[in-house]
């Protein structure tokens, strides 16, 4: 999925400016890190792409289609092409792991057999097939995050958005999770990962967009990062 921001501004209310004149292009099948301190505008950027928020001004093109042309009734279909992973746990505690992962498929009334096949494949990829029947309160933090990733990829989206996916995890688990994103990127999924974990940047060679107070302060290759 190709993503183009041009002169995007986003204000919350009349005072707080979350993004200011942001322009960049992410080519299809690329993996990109977005970094910056908390409050720099990383989450806002991801929310604009998934149409959780609308820009105050400027334009966002996804595969050359202007997001402003999406009416509210088109939004669900747009989101079905995007897998989203958050820092905080967004699993439903009343559902077991299998049903949590199945959610994106259930909403477009996929055949139960197909759901079973794809959920199992997805859980297998994150190494949690054996926990399919467990409930989220029995899972560790790392497992939580992996179930979230399984849910994000189960509908085979063209784009993966991750907002601080390793924020709560120790180094080894963080590596594991980021490697998963890299693996999905290898099979052609565009991935945008918001993180302030510099350690992860150094492990890959991909573009980094650095935000500072809502503006792009620099764009560079992650392999150039030094301490």
């Amino acid at each position: 999925m190709k993503i183009e921001f041009s002169h995007v501004n986003k204000n919350y209310g009349s005072t707080r400016q979350a993004l200011h004149d942001v322009s960049f292009t992410i080519p299809n099948e690329e993996m990109v890190f977005v970094t910056g301190h908390s409050g720099a505008g990383k989450s806002t950027l991801l929310k604009l792409i998934s149409l959780i928020e609308r820009p105050t001004s400027g334009q966002i093109l996804i595969n050359d289609r202007n997001l402003a042309s999406f009416k509210s009734r088109d939004i669900p279909f747009h989101r079905r092409n995007i897998g989203v992973v958050f820092q905080e746990n967004t699993l439903i505690n009343e559902y077991n792991v299998f049903r949590n992962v199945a959610m994106p498929l259930e909403i477009c009334s996929t055949h139960p057999q197909e759901i079973k096949k794809r959920v199992n494949a997805s859980l297998d990829k994150v190494g949690l097939l054996h926990k399919a029947k467990q409930y989220p309160d029995k899972l560790s933090a790392g497992e939580h995050q992996r179930v979230g990733i399984a849910r994000a990829i189960v509908s085979r989206p063209a784009l993966l958005l991750a907002d601080e996916p390793t924020g709560n995890l120790d180094a080894a688990l963080s590596d594991e999770i980021t490697d998963l994103f890299a693996a999905f990127n290898q099979v052609g999924i565009t991935a945008i990962i918001a993180t302030h974990d510099n350690r992860q940047l150094k492990r890959f060679s991909c573009p980094v967009i650095e935000l500072q107070e809502g503006q792009i302060s620099q764009v560079y290759q992650s392999s150039e990062v030094t301490d």
Binding site: R73, T90, I92, E94, M103
Partner: protein
């Protein structure tokens, strides 16, 4: 197929919180039973039968130009009419004689060119036709016979009963309206709480691309189910009331030498009650969902 799947899921959801489900269903059921009992009472009054000593007679006035032979034909036709126990014909001559006797005026006919009194046929209805509707049916049937000028019944009691029945029906409908209003509020509040409880679920559903109708649906089914169960409870309460009141009412009626039984809901009544309760629940959910679902981000 999908309808029953969704209904089953809503049912399972309700069973997860049995005590609050029961409380809600009972509140709705009791509320709905009030207009239902009112409706039943109105219907009962309509079917009220009368004490034998006050049995009404129907007076049928034959047109003046009808010959005695034709009167016999009319009598024959009345004999075949359902609901008539007996008839008694008072010819115009007999009528004149009893008038003379009653008024004390002799030889009235001498001063008149012809007898102005009509031939009258007095009908005694069968017991099971002694109700507002029964008598009215009989009157309608008799009126259609050729050669009949007018049909009269001692209208007063009929009208009075009709009024009581209509009054009770009106009250029942007004109550039904008010209670429907109350139920929409009770249920929409219940649904609002459910929405709040499932905020996380709704949020995630929307994030992974659930359409509004997909998010809305479970709540509509819950409302439908609440209404349906409430309707069934109201139906049950009606039968309990019937059972409890039957004995004392029969005793009371017997003391007035009359028969009176409470109206039993027929299939149409029962279906109307239960279906409208379910629709009411669905509407309440729709109302609540429309109001509260948009509060949850992302939109």
């Amino acid at each position: 197929m999908r309808f029953f799947q969704m209904l089953l899921r809503a049912w399972q959801d309700l069973l997860k919180t049995p005590s609050s489900t029961l409380a809600n269903v009972l509140v709705i059921g009791v509320a709905l039973s009030i207009p239902t009992v009112g409706y039943g009472l109105a219907k009962s009054v309509k079917e009220l039968s009368f004490a034998l000593e006050h049995k009404p007679h129907i007076n049928v006035f034959v047109s003046p130009n009808v010959s005695p032979a034709e009167i016999q034909v009319i009598e024959g036709e009345l004999g075949f009419t359902n609901g008539i126990q007996s008839i008694k014909t008072i010819t115009k001559e007999e009528a004149l004689k009893s008038f003379e006797a009653a008024s004390g005026i002799q030889n009235v006919l001498d001063s008149l060119e012809k007898n102005p009194l009509p031939t009258t046929i007095v009908i005694t209805p069968k017991d099971d036709f002694l109700s507002v509707d029964g008598i009215q049916n009989l009157i309608d049937t008799v009126k259609k016979i050729d050669g009949i000028d007018e049909v009269q019944v001692n209208q007063e009691w009929l009208e009075r009963l009709n009024m009581i029945s209509e009054f009770t029906t009106t009250i029942a409908f007004v109550l039904a309206g008010l209670i429907a209003f109350a139920i929409v509020f009770i249920l929409s509040n219940t649904i609002r709480l459910l929405i709040a409880n499932r905020k996380n679920q709704i949020m995630v559903s929307k994030l992974v691309g659930a359409s509004d109708s997909f998010v809305r649906q479970p709540f509509l089914y819950l409302g439908f189910l609440y209404g349906l169960l409430g309707g069934l409870v109201a139906y049950g309460i009606y039968w309990i009331v019937l059972f409890l009141l039957q004995q004392p009412i029969t005793e009371l009626a017997n003391s007035y030498k009359t028969t009176f039984s409470l109206y039993q809901l027929n299939n149409v009544d029962s279906a109307t009650l239960i279906v409208s309760a379910a629709v009411l629940g669905w509407l309440a959910a729709r109302f609540s969902v429309g109001k509260h679902l948009n509060d949850i981000k992302p939109r």
